[in-house]
Symmetry: none
């Protein structure tokens, strides 16, 4: 028996006035998600605990059975791993953006005009910035990650990113005395990188030069127990988002490049599962529609995903399929919220409940009741007959 | 007000094809269990947490309000206490089987032909094995328990029982350096017991001589808070299973011999409750039918139990009755699984919900929601008006 956990990012929502008070998921035509609900056992799940707003990182850690309270200190290390950097437990990392600042370090554009080609700039930084600590910087378009390759540093420093334009970049502050060194090193790096960038030929003549690196989300790299060792399941992760790929990589999972179309991704996953036990698939776009407050767009994406997953109905006859959202991204909030998300588990041994539709309210009447994301893997292991008994 | 907690061992199950996709509990005629559901408040419960497969030992500890994560290290001490041995906190114990091995210690039969009469063999071991540590061995038919009467030992050693026939017995290994002494002592005991047994007159001429003791489930005896001191309830436990009797004994509960027939046991319990406050009753056989993959047998046992409990309906008018399973034992799995179990609480002050049938799915629609076994005693104490207020 194999298992797929399909995370429809940001799927859950709240009633939307323009959808006659329905959520995008309630509004969408979704025969295949409903069929899974009819075959399976349903419920609602909290990413962390009731009301807590989770990131995609903390929620995916929980879905994979790791305790975010223990392993998560900031997004930096997961971004770095997701960019393919070789980051080690104990190292401190940041998510960075190439930005445009003026002469007195006021932020003009937090993404430097969404600059595309930054490889050469990253190389210049790695080669020309001299720091007391060994570091590595890597970029992908306007995004990047910075890693300090030293195990003794505290991550407890504030961001240099002011998270706004028209204001000055922020000098990082230590949030505990042990972090003074990190704060000093980060500011040293930031100013030296600024020197390298503002004089770089690639920036000459750019209307919005990529002349600054804004850092945020400092975190220390956790030692995640290897997924296969933890569960006895060979696995892969299919996701377009760096931070989710990073989590999978730090958990020792194989990270695969998804096909462009949703339907092709599902076929690709089913093919890969012929030689592997477990797939974590994240589909991102419903979350983006939530962030952008576009309920109609969200409905459309849900319907596209629903069409694509039709082969999962057959797969779930002899294997297990879990579908859930990592968190809710209500259009009205335009960001992640702390509502529960619907969850369905379909497969040969589940106790079918009476729920016939896969949505926020119907699933709250399911036989799973209200669980937490960290319960998903134990429930799945039990169904896969891979669970060990605690006691005799 | 008095209370009965009736544990129908291994009652919960999964859909069974030969029962038209119903569980044995759904299939069974059970007017009395349904009547309790109609009178009471229902829900589902996790022995430990969602998906975790519990033993009968860890689940009963949880039902009695002890935290298995804190007090449970292995079945040995509970087996020893259940055999009536006087075992003290800190002492290490094992569950043992009399077995048959050949000259090179290959296991021929893990139960020595289910030998019945082993008292003399046990006596010979206690009298003739000389060990560096004081020990006690006690047997009941082919089963037994070994206790090292020394508080300083680590229990972290592997079993000598290879859990299979046709393979050699295993020399115990220390799982931490502090356990080297325990491993050495256990092996010393095992070889010396083998010498005593293989030369014992009772074994002469037996086709499957009881010439070896296989040990497993090493654990250190916990200090369980006395049940009556913890809850202010005088209590007794009625169970046929040694390990459950052992838990009750270590909790300071009275352990009573059950009558043969289920109906007589219920009458016996109601009689005993005239002078006591609380009864834990375990009925074992549904679990055995699950282990043996016999759904029809399981249905039959459930129906027998249902008939026997009819007097509980009257009892529940002025007292409390809780019925639940310790864990699920799905016929398809043939062992304990991590599914929820149905639970009903009937009694004068409960909020009646809308559930009319006592089974896995119906109870998941009950007003208790999804709880954990460790919640049972606090809920019951509250209903019995014995709970203290936390706060002012």
């Amino acid at each position: 028996m194999k298992a797929i956990v399909l995370v429809i990012d940001g799927l859950a929502d709240r009633p939307v006035a323009s959808l006659e008070g329905r959520t995008p998921l309630e509004k969408a035509e979704k025969p295949n998600l409903n069929a899974l609900a009819q075959m399976g056992i349903t419920g609602v799940s909290d990413a962390i605990s009731p009301g807590i707003r989770a990131g995609s990182d903390t929620s995916h850690l929980a879905i994979l059975g790791y305790n975010p309270m223990e392993v998560y200190t900031g997004r930096g290390p997961f971004e770095a791993a997701g960019l393919g950097m070789d980051i080690k437990p104990g190292e401190v990392a940041w998510r960075c953006n190439f930005a445009t600042v003026d002469d007195d370090l006021t932020v003009i554009d937090r993404r430097a005009g969404r600059i595309e080609d930054t490889e050469e700039l990253a190389q210049a930084i790695n080669e020309n910035v001299n720091l007391e600590v060994e570091f590595e910087f890597k970029s992908w378009r306007y995004r990047g990650a910075l890693v300090f390759k030293d195990e003794g540093l505290s991550y407890r420093v504030t961001d240099t990113d002011p998270h706004a334009t028209g204001v000055k970049v922020e000098k990082p502050r230590a949030l505990e005395s042990e972090a003074e060194k990190t704060a000093k090193l980060l500011w040293d790096f930031t100013l030296k990188a600024h020197e390298v960038l503002k004089n770089h030929p690639l920036n000459k003549g750019r209307e919005l030069p990529a002349n600054f690196l804004l850092a945020r989300g400092a975190g220390v790299t956790p030692e995640l127990e290897n997924f296969e060792a933890k569960y006895g399941l060979s696995s892969f992760c299919m996701a377009t988002t760096a931070i989710i790929r990073g989590i999978a990589k730090l958990a020792g999972m194989e990270v695969v490049e998804p096909e462009e179309k949703y339907a092709d991704r599902i076929k690709q996953a089913l093919e890969l599962l012929k030689t592997r036990d477990f797939a974590l698939i994240n589909i991102k776009e419903a979350d983006e529609a939530g962030h952008d407050n576009k309920p109609d767009k969200k409905v459309e994406i849900i319907e596209q995903i629903d069409q694509a997953i039709e082969p999962l109905l057959e797969f779930a006859r002899e294997n297990y399929v879990v579908v859930l959202a990592d968190h809710s991204t209500p259009c009205s909030v335009g960001d992640h919220a702390g509502d529960t998300v619907p969850v369905v588990i379909a497969g040969p041994e589940v106790r079918k409940d009476r729920v016939e539709k896969f949505d926020e309210i119907n699933c709250s009447y399911g036989a799973l009741g209200r669980i937490r994301h960290r319960d998903i893997m134990p429930i799945l292991l039990d169904l896969l007959n891979k669970a060990e008994k605690f006691g005799a």
